[in-house]
């Protein structure tokens, strides 16, 4: 403003604030986020990678470089091709599998919910979105614990069935197995999947749907030819949003998994805490990240082949 008032020949070149390059202004804006990301994520991540090349010697760490931890894990994995997978490989495969099933369940649950909100609710959509967040008002731990109460030996289902006279003894297969982990994960993460799917459905121009009907599609056909392909960005986002965090989930298998339901997260925690072998735990963490990255890349390669070709949707 002062530059303008001075009436100089080229006011912009005299204004000192104008000289600051754009990238610096951008840097200021992201500085807080960047500090957190570097301090809380990048540094620990580097620490994990570095520690994974060390050795635990009693209470001390031998900081000389070694590939021993990875060697152990590679041996563990190589056993898959001879006499059955080793402990860690089994856990990683099981974790990926449980997450895959839970993610599938989540998307199958969330999609109709998102569809209903996007296409059937005419008024008060905000109320529905708020209702969707209600589960988050209690902590994750409590929600997982609630499933323990529902599925437990003397839990809601068993005592209900018993009082109805349908069973004599409580059903033991409900809790402490991979299935109970899957159910709990599917419930706990459903809300995360609804929102991205809802947004991508809401964004679809209604004239596309009318055009599809006009060109002879029934409702069912129209869904698969127009609605679903156009909602893919949100659906893919939902799948990644649920799959990636659930592979490494630690609380759910600890509370409802039992011995057969433990996942790789539990094993990593054991290495760090009980087994006092941080380097092996760190190597396991790195291996798990690698496994998730590979799984996600594979998924995107399969799903995204057609989409990448077609620019934006």
């Amino acid at each position: 403003m002062t530059a303008l008032a001075s009436g100089a020949t080229s006011p912009t070149s005299q204004d000192p604030t104008r000289r600051r390059p754009e990238w610096l202004a951008g840097l200021w804006l992201i500085a807080p986020t960047l500090a957190i990301v570097i301090g809380m994520m990048l540094v620990p991540l580097c620490a994990i990678v570095i520690v994974s090349f060390w050795t635990q010697t009693g209470f001390d760490l031998d900081t000389s470089f070694t590939l021993a931890n990875y060697g152990l894990l590679v041996d563990d994995a190589l056993k898959c091709f001879s006499d059955g997978c080793g402990l860690y490989s089994t856990l990683i495969i099981k974790s990926l599998w449980i997450s895959f099933v839970a993610t599938s369940a989540v998307v199958l649950l969330a999609y109709p919910m998102a569809y209903f909100m996007a296409f059937r609710i005419q008024r008060g959509k905000l109320v529905w979105i708020i209702l969707l967040t209600v589960p988050f008002w209690t902590s994750y731990l409590l929600r997982v614990f609630a499933w323990k109460v529902i599925l437990g030996f003397n839990g809601v289902i068993n005592s209900g069935l018993k009082s109805l006279g349908l069973i004599e003894k409580p059903l033991e297969f409900l809790l402490y197995n991979p299935a109970s982990v899957t159910i709990t994960l599917a419930h706990a993460w459903a809300a995360y999947a609804v929102l991205p799917i809802y947004v991508s459905l809401e964004k679809i121009d209604r004239s596309y749907l009318e055009a599809a009907t006009d060109l002879g599609d029934s409702r069912w056909k129209r869904f698969w030819r127009v609605t679903f392909p156009l909602s893919l960005p949100g659906t893919i986002a939902a799948i990644l949003l649920v799959f990636i965090p659930t592979v490494g989930d630690y609380i759910t298998p600890t509370l409802v998994g039992g011995p057969s339901g433990i996942m790789i997260g539990n094993s990593i925690a054991t290495q760090f805490i009980k087994a006092n072998n941080a380097p092996l735990g760190a190597a396991l963490s790195c291996l798990m990240m690698l496994a998730i990255t590979l799984a996600v890349c594979l998924f995107l390669a399969v799903i995204g082949k057609k989409r990448l070709k077609g620019a934006d949707i």
Partner: protein
């Protein structure tokens, strides 16, 4: 209007209400097979609602729509012999041009080779050959418009519905597309129902036009008839420019009426079926380009009123003159062809001057009050 033998579409008392609001009020008319029919009116007049009811996208509150003799009832759009070109074009963004055009064919029992052949033919017809692999976002507005057209036509509908398809295009492109659309309709022989708020577009394209306002169909006629013989003040005012003279019928003489439009100002108006009686109020409508502005008193066989020029504007091919003729009445606008160089015009200079406004008796239209 009685249902004729070659009617492709018959509307009988088609009404659509949204709560207390009547969007379309008892529309009753026929559209002939192979006709280019336009629904013209200001926004909110119910033209799009009527089109959507024919296509099955809206359900009429009452009345019946017959397409090719078949009552449509509550039939959904996918079971009607109609296809629509949407205002927004609605080109599927996840499919390329060829896939878009082939979309409707997938719902027919046709083999792949036939689909490919039909898509190629449709692309050629709308002059988009070679662009089959493009996506909607790689096309210009005019190209999208053509894809939407090809996608609908390839389904060989009995009736093609077009919802303001040229509204989003710039003026030059719109004029090109109008010509193409007209040629396409002629060569295909499909019945077109075209919704527009642009009167010039409707006049230049259509065989017949239905002028709508407030949900009512006011007049259905050819472009010439609508322009030359509007049946009410609303139609007269909506299509082109019009001067209105309010007055009283003082005498009926054969096929002419004598009207008094001001104190001792009498003019003659032709009667074309209007029922008028001496003494009743009436409105005389005269187009600006049918009025001549002259300096000397014209022959008594023509209608003439004394006026003072108030303003004139030179538009190149023609000049517009506003002239006051009566203190209480609106000024008359006159459009003069500039056949001579500006300096030779009797009104050159632009200063206020006394003139005669004159028009032949046949140029006037008598409208009931």
């Amino acid at each position: 209007m009685a249902s004729s033998d070659n009617a492709m579409i018959t509307l009988s008392a088609v009404t659509k209400r949204f709560g207390a609001f009547t969007a379309v009020d008892a529309a009753t008319f026929d559209i002939a097979a192979g006709e280019f029919f336009s629904l013209l009116g200001p926004s909110g007049c119910g033209k799009t609602t009527l089109l959507r009811m024919i296509g099955g996208f809206e359900q009429q509150t009452s009345g019946e729509i017959l397409i090719d003799g078949e009552a449509m009832g509550t039939r959904p759009p996918n079971h009607r012999p109609t296809n629509m070109v949407f205002q927004s074009y609605a080109i599927f963004p996840h499919l390329d041009v060829a896939e878009n055009i082939a979309y409707g064919l997938a719902n027919r029992p046709v083999d792949k080779a036939t689909v490919a052949r039909k898509v190629d033919a449709a692309l050629e017809m709308v002059r988009l050959s070679g662009l089959g692999k493009r996506r909607a976002n790689q096309l210009s507005g005019g190209q999208r418009q053509r894809v939407a057209l090809a996608r609908a036509i390839v389904c060989e509908p009995k009736v093609l519905l077009l919802d303001e398809p040229l509204g989003a295009l710039d003026k030059k492109l719109r004029e090109e597309m109008q010509i193409e659309l007209r040629q396409l309709q002629k060569s295909l022989g499909i019945t077109f129902i075209f919704v527009t708020h642009d009167q010039e577009e409707a006049l230049s394209l259509s065989d017949r036009i239905a002028v709508m306002a407030r949900g009512k169909v006011l007049q259905i006629d050819s472009a010439t008839a609508l322009y030359e013989r509007p049946n009410c003040r609303e139609v007269a005012g909506f299509i082109g420019n019009m001067n209105f003279f309010e007055g009283r019928v003082v005498a009926v003489e054969g096929d002419q009426a004598v009207m008094e439009i001001g104190p001792d100002i009498r003019v003659r108006v032709p009667l074309t079926g209007q029922s008028v009686t001496a003494g009743g109020n009436a409105i005389l409508a005269v187009r600006p380009e049918k009025i001549d502005a002259v300096v000397d008193r014209p022959a008594p066989s023509r209608n003439a009123i004394r006026a003072t020029t108030r303003a004139s504007s030179y538009l190149g091919d023609r000049s517009l003159i506003l002239a006051d003729w009566h203190q209480e009445a609106a000024p008359v606008s006159v459009s003069l062809q500039n056949r001579h160089a500006a300096a030779e015009s009797p009104l050159a200079g632009g200063a206020a001057r006394e003139i005669w406004l004159t028009w032949p008796v046949e140029a006037g239209v008598l409208l009931s009050d």
